[in-house]
């Protein structure tokens, strides 16, 4: 894992609170606005930034993230431009880890070796590739690890104890626990079930466990952060962006401040999380 990722988890742990991971779609609604959004996420208190790579066929995503990807593609976003976003962000901020999240085909077409070289050079710390399970590790996971980029795996409610070791084997950075069987943007299940699942995963690994899918409010962040090492918020941010756009899907003056305000609330939520746990 990159030193930057390790340092961030260590620093946040020292504060006695979970990390806040925020997802947004690179290039939504356009390149410049999304760079401003990325910077706003960091300023509002996001600890790790998940940078979405748009794909025409996002099979694991709900309508909100599907539409965000369509807006980005329409505005001309590509994988190369998403790497450029990372590079531009990194020029001003050397401490916030960036994790690319998307699907394999754009990376495969870009070329795995070339992608890893360019991603590392752009200051990317890790990646989540939804359609590459451990059975497909030779494709990208092993080459990424060899280059020192984290390959963050999704563990899900269907990942039972028998399968968990396989899922965790080449995982690095953190483990992303998907709170439900479903797509992004669904409703959050009972948080006590999630706590049990997090405990089960932690029994198998020393890596931090972050929980995502369905986390939308500061209250969710606080409740889940009571047991998990981090919470991931995506659809709520993407929805916030969408609600600020013009009918033609263009950015307005409210776009960036809206995201910033939302994430400030979420950051307060994770900061209250361990207090909640101690109650």
């Amino acid at each position: 894992m990159t030193a930057r990722m390790e340092q961030r988890f260590a620093d946040v742990a020292a504060e006695g609170r979970p990390v806040l991971v925020t997802y947004f779609m690179g290039g939504d609604p356009d390149f410049d606005t999304s760079l401003a959004i990325m910077k706003a996420l960091q300023q509002a208190g996001a600890d790790i930034i998940e940078l979405g790579v748009p794909f025409s066929d996002p099979m694991a995503d709900g309508p909100a993230i599907q539409l965000a990807g369509q807006r980005a593609l329409k505005a001309g976003q590509t994988l190369a431009k998403t790497l450029e976003l990372a590079r531009r962000f990194r020029a001003d901020d050397q401490r916030t880890p960036i994790v690319l999240m998307g699907y394999y085909n754009p990376i495969y077409i870009y070329g795995v070796e070339r992608f890893l070289t360019d991603a590392l050079e752009a200051g990317v710390d890790g990646m989540i590739v939804v359609d590459l399970p451990p059975e497909m590790d030779d494709e990208l996971c092993i080459p990424a690890l060899a280059k020192g980029i984290s390959f963050i795996r999704l563990a899900t409610p269907t990942t039972d104890d028998r399968r968990l070791p396989k899922v965790l084997e080449n995982t690095s950075g953190f483990v992303y626990y998907v709170s439900m069987t479903g797509i992004t943007g669904s409703a959050l299940p009972d948080t006590s079930l999630i706590a049990g699942a997090v405990a089960r995963i932690k029994a198998h690994t020393s890596l931090p466990v972050c929980v995502g899918f369905g986390v939308k409010t500061a209250d969710h962040a606080r409740a889940i952060g009571a047991t998990a090492d981090g919470v991931v918020v995506g659809t709520a941010i993407v929805n916030q962006i969408a609600s600020s756009l013009t009918e033609e899907g263009r950015a307005t003056e409210a776009t960036v401040p809206g995201v910033e305000a939302l994430v400030r609330g979420l950051a307060a939520g994770v900061r209250a999380a361990r207090l909640a746990a101690a109650e």
């Binding site: 748009p54 794909f55 025409s56 066929d57 996002p58 099979m59 694991a60 995503d61 709900g62 599907q66 593609l73 590509t78 994988l79 190369a80 699907y103 394999y104 085909n105 754009p106 990376i107 495969y108 077409i109 870009y110 939804v130 359609d131 590459l132 399970p133 451990p134 059975e135 497909m136 795996r153 999704l154 563990a155 899900t156 409610p157 269907t158 990942t159 039972d160 399968r163 899922v167 998907v178 069987t181 479903g182 797509i183 669904s186």
Partner: protein
């Protein structure tokens, strides 16, 4: 491009990881992985279980109407003046196409796995109808995802699915065609993993689907081989089938792959021509990529975004192709060629008038290729074509294009 070495047999794939050469595999979200492994185990057990085989054969005979006839198209042969043309008449199957062969097989598996709900994607609606049919026959609820564009152009099949008790969910994402329906079916599956069986309609998707669907459809080629030996005392010189995702084609091709003297041709949808984007010829005009659980040839741009294809026939309107076809193409065993919309339309009319058979627009593509090749072949040569479906669903589309009114 350097060609991979020729294997001893063209029929031994896929390997344990579900690969045909570099194609195939299991590119799915972790949530689905345990389920796909379960399915693979269940399929491995079922195919060696005599009781499973017996049930499949029994339903094949009495429910589907197998074996389907091998028909010598005498008038068409005379008209073209070359090779003898035989049709494997899958359009006579219950529900009107080859799709039912696969649906019966998979629903028996779903039952074995204790699943209580069936989902399917459909383009032309033939697979949707076949899925709704077997769901009714086995008493399971069924949801069919269908692109909104296809809901419109294949209206008779939408009505049939509804009558059969299935819920048809129109998908508006993307261009509202087969690819988008498949995305939506995958989203449903990932949400309802415990209860739901995803009945994929073509020889594509993550392992073990391409292999499993092929094996359920291979009955077409096995019967045809036997029937051809009985009719002519020898194997055909040329086997032709239309390729959407590739299930009817691999079904008739597979038993002939190791027969050296048999040339094999797959026909893709050339749409309005390969120059622009309005076609669905993933092998002739696409490049390898990863979509819907497998690596295969895809229509895509330089950033790896999948393009929407176009074909007059909803069943061929898919920007990918089953991974085994991708491999057979690269290794040179099967030749893949495009046929344009207007050529298919003309073939549709020729067959209707000369033989009194209204074909679906999908096999009309295969027929157009047969019409091109037969006159150039000797009268002692034999062509076998998979007549994969009947054209009832297409008569309104065709009538409109031909200005026949309704």
């Amino acid at each position: 491009m350097n060609q991979p070495p020729k294997p001893n047999s063209f029929r031994s794939g896929p390997d344990e990881e579900g690969r045909f050469g570099i194609f195939g595999g299991r590119f799915v979200a972790e949530t689905l992985m345990p389920l796909i492994l379960d399915l693979q185990d269940e399929w491995a057990r079922a195919k060696n279980d005599p009781a499973f085989k017996a049930e499949l054969e029994n339903l094949g005979r009495h429910y589907i109407g197998r074996p389907s006839p091998l028909y010598f198209a005498e008038r068409l042969t005379a008209e073209l003046g070359g090779a003898k043309i035989y049709f494997k008449r899958e359009e006579l199957n219950h529900t009107g196409s080859h799709k039912i062969n696969n649906c019966i097989g998979q629903i028996l598996l779903a039952k074995r796995m204790g699943k209580t709900r069936i989902i399917a994607e459909t383009g032309a609606g033939q697979h949707g109808v076949a899925s709704a049919t077997v769901a009714a026959r086995f008493g399971l609820p069924c949801v069919v995802y269908m692109g909104a564009t296809d809901v419109e152009r294949q209206a008779p099949n939408v009505f049939r699915m509804k009558l059969l008790g299935a819920e048809v969910k129109p998908v508006t994402a993307g261009h509202g065609t087969l690819k988008d329906a498949m995305n939506e079916a995958l989203r449903d599956w990932v949400t309802n993993v415990d209860s739901t069986y995803y009945l994929i309609g073509t020889a594509a998707g993550p392992h073990p689907y391409p292999e499993m669907v092929r094996d359920f459809q291979a009955v077409i080629g096995e019967e045809a081989k036997q029937q051809m030996l009985e009719a002519e005392g020898r194997l055909p010189d040329l086997v032709v089938a239309a390729v959407g995702g590739g299930s009817n084609a691999i079904g008739i091709f597979h038993p002939f792959l190791d027969d050296e003297g048999v040339r094999i041709v797959g026909v893709e949808a050339g749409g309005k021509g390969l120059d622009g984007d309005e076609h669905c010829a993933s092998l002739t005009a696409g490049s390898p990529g990863v979509l819907h659980g497998n690596r295969t040839y895809l229509l895509q741009d330089g950033d790896g975004q999948i393009k929407e294809g176009h074909s007059i026939s909803a069943g061929l309107d898919y920007p990918g192709i089953g991974p085994e076809h991708a491999w057979l193409n690269d290794i040179g065993r099967v030749e893949y060629v495009p046929i344009m919309d207007h050529e298919a339309l003309e073939a549709f009319q020729i067959l209707t008038r000369l033989e009194g058979i209204i074909p679906a627009l999908e096999p009309s593509h295969a027929l157009a290729e047969v019409i091109k090749r037969a006159p150039k072949m000797g009268k002692d040569e034999i062509i076998l074509m998979n007549l994969s479906g009947r054209g009832d669903k297409d008569i309104f589309t065709v009538g409109k294009i031909l200005g026949m009114g309704q």
